[in-house]
Symmetry: C2
Subunit: 282 residues, 2 copies
């Protein structure tokens, strides 16, 4: 039986590209949903549905025409700049719920967008149902291990992320020698790591006490289908350039794009990657 | 009766200078405790006790010699770089409690330092007991008023600060059009405001929906004697330079250094200052 067509809502980063590769390799029929304003330079000859945030009616009609009834959200997307004059009838129907949500945190917005798709009869598929092994199990994956001081920073980081997850702002922080050098906000992980790297020299004693760790963990009760914390080779490079010791993620719930390349890069740059069981950080 | 000598633990900013002025004007005997490594360019001919973090014994002896039994903590202080070879007997006695606290948040560290002073028989005086009216009551203090969109950002900011206060990281954030553009961490408010100002252009729609607000509030259950959120003229200038709309603080618990100069500066630069009752933000 032919598998149903998969619609890939494509945002920034390599995740949608990996899903496209997977679909090609496994003969899965797919369409890429390309929202206006999202920069996707890799589209080439791929099957694309062009969409506007203001016109969900047209998008749902196109998806139904293609027989796409499954949708995967892949890659970060900025809050769209909306032109109210372009709203179609469907948008106007959901506007009273959607527009206030856009002024809340990311989660609130994404949950409502997911609800809208579901109400239209689409099934939302989590990325890890498509890309097996994208989540990282517990362990240290690099030649370098976190030091005892690094591990204290890791635990402080997870403690902070657990608390702030209720505020729906970000999923990452940088801790060095017990000091919080930054919390992820809308600018994302790379901006956070650079900010922490530039300012840390003013606050750290002897770096043998810990050069700083970038810690990433999903928000509590996060919907795994629509906003999953993600790291990749670029994250690893940025961590090393900022002069941090390594990366710590919560096991089995942070996705790592191209895991082998991440580990190789970390080994070349002399930083660690550790994945900590949620039993130990909650 | 002669008032007892007041010891001013002086950190960065104008707050210790204001307390010195107050003491001079009111004939209050005082000593400035100048910890090694803290940059106090304004000391001139003032009465100073030079102190090292590693040698509390010497400090307590000097304070007792001067008859100082009241201490005020004024101005931000970085976590000290400690040389364990210099620890005196008193430090060694408290080290098992103090050193682990230095790896937690600011509050934990400060609470333990306050406890140490209290155990030695010193009374810790809150700055607002000395500088009356340093806290700002409810109201809007500028010609410019926050817009309806600014007020939504203000409320979102206080909501976030209430949640993250349990993580003991910072006391401020920047919100624009519902998006969190930054959370205060160890680098302080000015670094936060600059970071938010530089990155906000990538995320904001039409600026008439709100240019962003800097929001400051004490952590919940914060000890008002030792770590009080503070704003001053420099904060106002930085907010304006970053292109934000204004400043919102929680009423009656954020200290404003040189209030009239702050309000004049805000009026000149076209930003608002609003102080919101805690009834409305909790």
């Amino acid at each position: 039986m032919q598998s149903p067509c998969l619609a890939i809502v494509a945002g920034a980063g390599d995740l949608p590209i990996q899903i496209v590769e997977h679909c090609k390799n496994n003969n899965i029929d797919f369409k890429i949903i390309h929202f206006e304003g999202v920069d996707l330079h890799w589209l080439k000859q791929l099957p694309v549905i062009n969409a506007k945030f203001e016109k969900p009616n047209a998008l749902f009609a196109s998806l139904n025409d293609c027989g796409c009834n499954q949708v995967v959200f892949a890659g970060a997307m900025k809050r769209p700049k909306l032109n109210p004059l372009k709203f179609d009838a469907k948008f106007l129907k959901i506007a009273s719920k959607l527009l206030p949500a856009l002024k809340k945190g990311d989660d609130t917005t994404l949950k409502i967008i997911a609800e809208i798709f579901e109400k239209e009869g689409f099934e939302i598929i989590a990325t890890d149902k498509i890309l097996k092994n994208i989540f990282v199990p517990e362990g240290v994956f690099t030649k370098k291990n976190p030091s005892e001081n690094d591990l204290i920073d890791v635990m402080r980081g997870f403690e902070i992320l657990n608390i702030i997850s209720k505020a729906d702002i970000g999923q990452a922080c940088v801790i060095a020698q017990g000091l919080c050098l930054g919390i992820e906000t809308i600018q994302g992980s790379d901006a956070l790591i650079k900010f922490a790297g530039q300012s840390k020299k003013n606050y750290l004693n002897d770096e043998s006490d810990g050069k700083g760790v970038f810690i990433k963990s999903p928000k509590l009760n996060q919907d795994k289908r629509i906003d999953v914390p993600t790291v990749g080779v670029e994250t690893i490079r940025t961590i090393a350039e900022a002069g941090l010791s390594g990366l710590a993620i919560k096991a089995d719930c942070v996705q790592m794009i191209d895991k082998n390349a991440c580990i190789d890069t970390a080994n070349q740059l002399g930083i660690f990657i550790t994945s900590v069981s949620s039993d130990k950080v909650l």
